[in-house]
């Protein structure tokens, strides 16, 4: 079961720049390590992270082997209108996880 935590304000003013923090639990196994039996452990990493704001992509990242377990990604965006933000992580072995957050925008 994937576990993810998103931290961002629930409300903001139009035009304001907000910080969004996304943390997900994932082993990020590099594929370079050997197990106790001397065999390579299969690679198991998150390959991409995408954030969409009302359907429009506002942030994306490609992840590779050098990223530590439980990746933490923080970024900023300018607030335009009320709506939902969708966060999506995709990875090896069909890993996929989506979180959605709502943002309420006040006019001033």
């Amino acid at each position: 079961m994937a576990r993810a935590l998103i931290h961002m304000p629930a409300t903001a003013k139009r035009g304001e720049v907000i910080e969004i923090r996304a943390l997900i639990g994932h082993p990020m196994e590099t594929g370079y390590r050997v197990g106790a039996d001397g065999k390579l452990l299969a690679r198991d990493i998150i390959r991409s992270f995408v954030c969409r704001y009302n359907g429009e992509q506002i942030f994306g990242a490609e992840l590779h082997q050098a990223i530590s377990a439980n990746p933490y990604i923080a970024f900023f965006t300018q607030v335009t209108e009320s709506g939902t933000l969708e966060f999506k992580w995709d990875g090896d072995n069909g890993f996929t996880h989506t979180e959605t957050m709502t943002l309420t925008v006040s006019a001033t």
Partner: protein
Amino acid sequence: MKRLLLGCLLIAGVVQAADERRSGAEFMSPATQAMQRDDAQNPAMLWTAAGEAQWNAVAGSSAKSCASCHGDARTSMRGVAARYPALDAGSGQVVNLGQRINICRERKQQAAPWKLESEELLGMEAYVAMQSRGMPVTPPQDAATQAAAARGKQQYFQRIGQLNLSCAQCHDQQWGKRLAGSTIPQAHASAYPTYRLEWQGMGSLQRRLRNCMSGVRAEVPHFGAKELVELEAWLALRDQGMKMETPGVRP
């Protein structure tokens, strides 16, 4: 003027002598300190979130959740972790927080106990311990716990392993110096279970103790061993009055 200066010096002296104990967090880099301080950055929050879900989830043939008996953990578990290890009256044994949780699972929920050091147990332990964050460590004063702590103290000063080192030789006598790339802390345990960057995951105090033991090439007791719990009891006594930091982050 002279008297005032003397007074100031005396006060400074008293303050310094009052407590030389420093949490392991003070030896960390500012980035790692920020990670522990800020819940939005602390990866241990993934485990506490899972612990919170478990708290409210029904388990075992009793069909009870932790919340069915204990209610809201934020009030009922406040200060509990600061009192462990403690005597379990049922078995007459001194147990740590993880073992106590498993006792509850077995006796009250009639569920299978969680494997020691499993993600589930670490999550629940961290969630319960987090409710005591900022509170002083207050080890129980009963005879059994005190006796366990006394045996733990003996172990703390006992040289072990091929390197023939005791805990005290590094953590009491050499703290602040470097052991290879890392600073030797004072071995205060009030931040456990901890997210350790080296482990890339959560670990209990026993995992940390076993790490040190294998580091000095000593025989390592199994998880949940009496020796480890006694050592934990001694560390709790040694940390008395220090603030709980769980869930901590360590390098």
